[in-house]
Amino acid sequence: GDGWYIKHGVTLYKGAKVTKIDRAACTVTSEHGITASYDKLVIATGSIPIIIPVPGHTLPGVLTYRDLDDVKAMILAAQSRGKAVVIGGGLLGLEAAAGLAERGMDVTVIHLMPTLMERQLDAAAGLLLKQAFEARGIKVLTGANTKAILGSTRAEGVELADGQVLKASLVVMAVGIRPNASIAKDAGLAVNRGILVDAAMATSDPDIYALGECAEFDGQVFGLVAPLYEMANVLAAQLTGNPTARFMPSATATKLKVTGINLFSAGDFAERAGRDDIVLADPVGGVYKRLVLKDDRVIGAVLYGDTSDGAWIFDTIRSARNIAPIRDTVIFGPSFNLPQEVLPQDALSKDAADAPIEAPPEATHDALKAA
């Protein structure tokens, strides 16, 4: 509740959307006219979901998947047991599709790219994932470009670029996010895709900081939770008088939260010269594991079907450990690679890889999932 804020001397204005920053006066003002002054200002405005501006995108029945309102709307729509189309075969789209299917809807996922979750998975794992979704009765169309959302008063279907028409009473757009940087831009701060920050999380105004999905650091914007926690740590240090704290983005890990599908990916696994890989696959058991290596370091990993070694492998990536001595067994996880400098409890105690990432708040997610 609010008690935490009171206890810690934080004045909380709820439902107060800030519309203006006055950098000269060092004040912020809300749309209802509340003005507060600051010595240091932190902007944490997050991101907004991308809506593809195809014809019909404003029709009722077209939703994004971002907050509790979206989830409530989806649950309501699912009661019809009708047809749903999810646009976007990324992490969020697939979780939405799985949730809707669990609630009895006839779901089709349409995805622009040739394989699902292409930013986190290689083609082989993407194909296994597609098969797993199809096994649950969810249709998956890859390489599918949305041309229009059909319907006169509400969404009735989706038309693809190839002319195919899919009937749908619910259309969920889950095609990505955009940093919410408009207020910073209005205030004259340096903004590119997001609000530009340095390693101390400071914007172009040294008294103003930004962090989270609204921020852009070193050309990257961040949609996963682990680096955002790290940003918060850096900023907290800065604000409490430790100017040496620096944000160093490291590899990030992803887990798909769909019951019965174990999927973990971390780091960078694009095909490039100078990289090689180790693959372990059990097609019958539905297991696929791939480690991408560069200069005897693991720089990327995909685990599908069996993610129990995810934390250890993630640690192996983040610690940039030289795996040459354990190359023959590295993909088999920590129990084959002891004793080493990293003890298993150390590796496993790192919970970053298990954290929900690029996901709506836990509550929303669980609400959709719960039957």
Binding site: P283, G285, S335
Partner: protein, 894 residues
Amino acid sequence: MTKPAPVPVRTTCPYCGVGCGVLATPRPDGTADIKGDPAHPANFGRLCSKGSALGETLSFDDRLLYPTVNGTRATWDDALTLVASKFAETIAAHGPDSVAIYGSGQLLTEDYYVANKLMKGFVGTANMDTNSRLCMASSVAGHVRAFGSDTVPGNYQDLETADLVVLVGSNLAWCHPVLFQRLEAARQTRGTKIIVIDPRRTATCELADTHLALAPGSDVALFNGLFAHLADSGRFDHAYVKQHTTGIEKALDAARATPFAKIASITGLTPAELTAFYDSFATTERVVTIYSQGVNQSSAGTDKVNAIINCHLATGRIGREGMGPFSVTGQPNAMGGREVGGLANMLAAHMSLDDANHRRIVADLWQAPNLATKPGLKATEMFAAVGDGRIKAIWIISTNPADSLPQADAVVAALKACPFVVVSDCIAKTDTTALAHVLLPASAWGEKSGTVTNSERRISRQRPFMAAPGEAKPDWWIISEVAKRLGHAQAFDYDGPAAIFAEHARLSSAGNHGSRDFDIGAYAALPAVAYDALEPFQWPQAKGQAPRETRFFARGNFYTPDGKARAVPTPYRAPASATNPAYPLALNSGRVRDQWHTMTRTAKTPRLMSHIYEPFAEIHPADAKSANLTHGQLVTVRSPHGSVVVRADITERQRRGSVFVPMHWTDQQASGARIGAVMEAAIDPVSGQPELKHTPVAIAPFKTSHYGLLVTAQKPTLDTAYWAVTPVKGGWRAELAWTVEPSDWSALAARLLQPEASPSGLIAYRDRASGQHRFAAFDGVDLIGALFIARTPIAVGRSWSAEQLQARFATSAQKQRLLAGRSARATADHGPTVCACFDIGANQIAAATTHGGCTTVDAIGACLKAGTNCGSCRSEIKRILDTAMAPKSLTLTG
């Protein structure tokens, strides 16, 4: 009511020439409970790893079950009639010397006797030779030259009562383990000094006081030096020399022709080593010199034997307790074969072909119309004669010359070209049975009945305790049936082995009256019942004598015309072919601990295949470096005659300049490891024994693209550039290598692992950059097989990999983990088997040493039982303790 416990059958082990007594109790599942016979004077209850595993080698699955003619099943009558008619036709057209029998030291005395009688008495040729030619011929020739008879003077007790035992060219610990145990036990109480003379550091050396790693083939120089030293240091027994020997002076002149400094350079031993050895020998009255194949298998083998005997004759240290020259035989019945005359230059019962009186005695007793009058062709000559067409029909009995003879590829070619080849064997598929026109199924150990003679002249019964499978018959019956069909019904009308043995005994005493060493006339009228109850006895036992421990020559009485021993001059000569720049290394060959001959029996039990399971070459690190070889790589060992591809075991135990390759592997177990094909057929001019311990060879890396390790539940069909397959509990394991990378590893894996299924069902691991591919196939929770591929020798625990065939894999995670190629916890891998009796691995012993505080071999025994049964692994346990490292093994990683 409980069933009465089955009574064990007292029989004799079919492996080496120690001739251990065995108690065999057949079990309902076709195996047998095997124990050492506490009452047998050879072993007093002990058995080695091979003997202990006899019960596991009785399965019928690889047995020859019925006669075949040109690969088609035939009746016994048709097959025997064909053999007889073909032999008769050949003899009629080309004379008796156009046919031959090649037998074996595996044959029982009765089988041997009948074969020898048929050829020498009735066919009229002495073309009757055996694989004992490869084993004992130089000892026989040396004995005959010195003693006038083929006599082993001493007995096993001499090893226990000696103060110094010199082992020359004998890896007693591995080749005659029970004898070695007796020696070791005596040493515990007596402090016997043991000196090993061997170019190679064998397991025997681990427990010896001194190892003299002499240059290959230099034994004669070494013993000539000893002979001169004994003379110079006043150690000659002049009374004995004068009364019982002739030729000592001439022999001494020949010995002195090589001065001490030259001996040092020939033998490669330091003057200090030589002097220490000579002094030990000179100052120890009770000295036994044991020698075996390192002496016999040489182009100077007979001279080696005589150089040793000279030293014992000159000092009078012969035939007395705790002293004497002692030839130990490789085969269970090499001695019995010699007794019946089963070699081409012998007649029968230690009688001579070139002695008219002996010929008359034999012809009379046999009523032989057609007795051979001149020596026949000795093994290598015999197969050369097959090759050049002089011999047109050959009958090979109970042996595998396609592998075991030198220049074995030429032997194979000769047999392929031979108009008529008959093979009697108990095993269906050998490299020799593959070449036969007629195959005759023989009964095997446990089924056949007869006698064998061990290295101390002790005759023991091999008794049957199970029925022969299919239509298998005893060899004496097969040979007699052919003899009858050749028209000699009366002479071969035996009703069983007892009648044959009695005739053999009669022949031994016929006209003997003490003129011949071999006389077992006490058994000349032995009834069948008494034969069945026959207790082990030492010969001689002439008519009217009781059984007793016997020795020869303490008071002379040699079997020469003047009754005196002959000291034979033995000028040193180098091996027949010297190493040279093209073939710079000397190939040596021999046994490994748990294998026997060409492995037709020992390869049936995983227990015996777990110690050393792959053919290998022991190479000195410096020679390996020159050849650009690394440990665990495959190596080609090549001579002008042939080549093998085996695993390189690079070790300081090997003498620089020499290479050791075991003699056992055949085309049944490996792609190309028949070391006989590489060996030169140079022979000793006196004995005709081939020089199997010295062939100039070259070594080179066998260029591989990839190595592989395969474990499968079903026996795999292999055609890779290199393969070696071995049985393991629950299946098979194979070492593989490719010279060119296959285009599709998945397809290859599918073919090897589950020919019926598609590659998509395999669990697969790949690491292309490092060249590693691993595959596994499962049937539910059971492993069908796993294949590991890498560019370097496969770093997967061999014992562990084989154990997986018996594991259960309930989850995908367990199945994936298999492809890690090791257990998650290192200690779960027992490591390469050291103790075959109790199945204890090197890692367990090392762990007991480092964590369990076991610091002695006995402590390891108390803790793990390892080394407490046959004891033949005790030297290896000691090595593990000493070095706290893995033992000699070809397993590359735990």
